[in-house]
Symmetry: C2
């Protein structure tokens, strides 16, 4: 491949001049510039970005680390990150960890060796020491979707409040036996969604029934089996709050497979509002997170930090989620 020297030779100038002509930031004689451009075209010259990055100490690239790319939540966030990054001349490297913290550490290990100028993590957990370390080293880091208290900049929704409101909606529409099918509560986000559920019930004077608190965490998502087992034991809630849409899809299938109807027998509320959620049967009532917006904001914040502005006190930005009402909840009279 052609190097800057080849171009210089062909254009009859020095490499420095080629570099300057290409940068566009420094005055170069018009005629010289044209000769350089001509040579660049003729040789199909592409500057070696490794050399450039080595010299300049930055690569205009950000690493986006997501836990599971098959969960449509993360592609939506990624879109927001990419669009903003691109506007600012940054490229994003998307890394999928499959919830495997070792895979994640491998990525971080490799990328922090000057590949990327900063990271956005959608994978934060309590045990994510590597994220804290990065931050302590002064490496630009922003979290999205999942956060770690106030220690690191983050863009998240108010999971507690959204969950509270979703459950309150079920109560207001006449439901009394509300089951929650939740994710991994070692993630703050699911813990907060559970708290929202609990407090909404308490606020309405309803009891927390342990048999109605279901755990569908883990790989392969166990929402189907868990709900089916509950139903077959004769425990019949009048509503289920599934804390993600993929879980809601499995919950609905389980209810139907037990010969019951959604929403006539059991109402269901989801969380996410995926692309396909409006097309399910019944169209799903669910909490819509502004995922694209969250990605976009996280990217903006990170780029500010990379550009050396305000890396002072970490800020946790809260964005609004809202309940989208479709047809999976029935109003019940008592």
């Amino acid at each position: 491949m052609a190097t800057i020297k080849d171009v210089a030779k062909r254009a009859g100038v020095s490499p420095s001049t080629v570099s300057r002509a290409l940068s566009g930031k420094v005055p170069v004689d018009q005629e010289t510039r044209e000769r350089v451009m001509e040579a660049v075209r003729a040789l199909n010259y592409k500057p070696n970005i490794l050399a450039k990055g080595l010299k300049e100490g930055r690569t205009n690239t950000i690493g986006l680390i997501v836990p599971n790319i098959s969960n449509p939540v993360f592609p939506a966030v990624a879109r927001g990150v990419e669009d903003v990054a691109r506007e600012h001349g940054f490229t994003v490297i998307l890394c999928n960890t499959d919830e495997d913290i070792e895979a994640e550490k491998d990525y971080v290990e490799k990328l922090q060796k000057r590949w990327v100028d900063g990271f956005i993590f959608a994978t934060a957990r309590k045990e994510s020491h590597h994220i804290l370390q990065l931050k302590e080293k002064g490496f630009p880091v922003v979290l999205v979707v999942r956060h770690m208290g106030q220690a690191v900049d983050a863009v998240v929704i108010d999971n507690y409040k959204s969950s509270f409101e979703a459950v309150k909606y079920l109560i207001d529409t006449g439901h009394r036996k509300i089951c929650i099918v939740n994710g991994d509560t070692s993630l703050t986000l699911y813990k907060e969604r559970f708290e929202g559920y609990k407090h909404a019930l308490q606020a309405a004077g309803l009891p927390i029934t342990p048999e109605l608190v279901l755990d569908a965490a883990g790989r392969g998502d166990t929402g189907y089996e868990t709900v089916r087992a509950m139903l077959e034991k004769g425990m019949l809630p009048d509503a289920v709050f599934a804390t993600s849409d993929p879980r809601a899809i499995r919950v609905i299938r389980a209810i139907k497979d037990c010969g019951l109807s959604v929403p006539d027998d059991v109402s269901v509320v989801g969380f996410d509002d995926l692309d396909i959620s409006a097309f399910l049967d019944p169209p799903l009532t669910t909490v819509c997170q502004p995922l694209y917006e969250m990605g976009a904001r996280a990217a903006r914040r990170l780029i500010d930090i990379i550009n050396g502005e305000k890396y002072g006190q970490p800020k946790v930005e809260l964005v609004e989620a809202k309940l989208v009402i479709r047809k999976s909840v029935k109003v019940r009279e008592h």
Copy 2:
């Protein structure tokens, strides 16, 4: 950040020795090695990968370009690519183009400047000249899911055959008015799926009815509206072959919204076999592509090419897809 010089100074050796101790490929005195490692730990030294890549002329990284990360087909392929890459010490950079050829060219432009050692494209179209150019330059390139004739190495399924068999299954189960809801036929893959449909009907002596050939290409997927419009015009097929699962989900919704039942009134067959397809209502009969396997094979092929083996005649590998029978097709008597 610490550099190799800092480590050398602290360990009382030359930078060359540090480099050699770290590489592990060259004999280094045991005691010297330990002093180096000690210094590496103490300074938390990470070699600058840009400098390394510049010197060595490779980065052990591959670029994976996908058209739409929100379509679950591509995450599945990406998994296969990542797992194999990782086994071989490669990192993968995942780039989402959103079907925007300009975005794609931007990525390729940036990554080919020595960021990556090779590319896997899941975005190939007839107009993808940039892919051909890359290949002509000698840049390692492999295609997956979508291919470009015999010009470039590729791993794909036999779309014609899979489609033929899906439609034949509908015919064998007693369907006579079979509608196809297809994607963008400027993609070879959808053209081939259409050919399979056509020939299966012809082989059974059934006519091709233009009103039953529906186009649901384009952004936001128009499967819902198109099918609904057909049904409202009074055109009632006894089966629909949707050439992707996301399309099948919209088709089913449209049929139900017209007061009809799946599969009692209309059978539906999809294509993809997504994670959630088994949980839909009804559980979807669909063509299962071995997506993970395809990604894995593409990665293996690319890494072979990068390692300088056999970049001779391009090979198009065909992998087997198979129909997964669930409950969205009803056997009809005549």
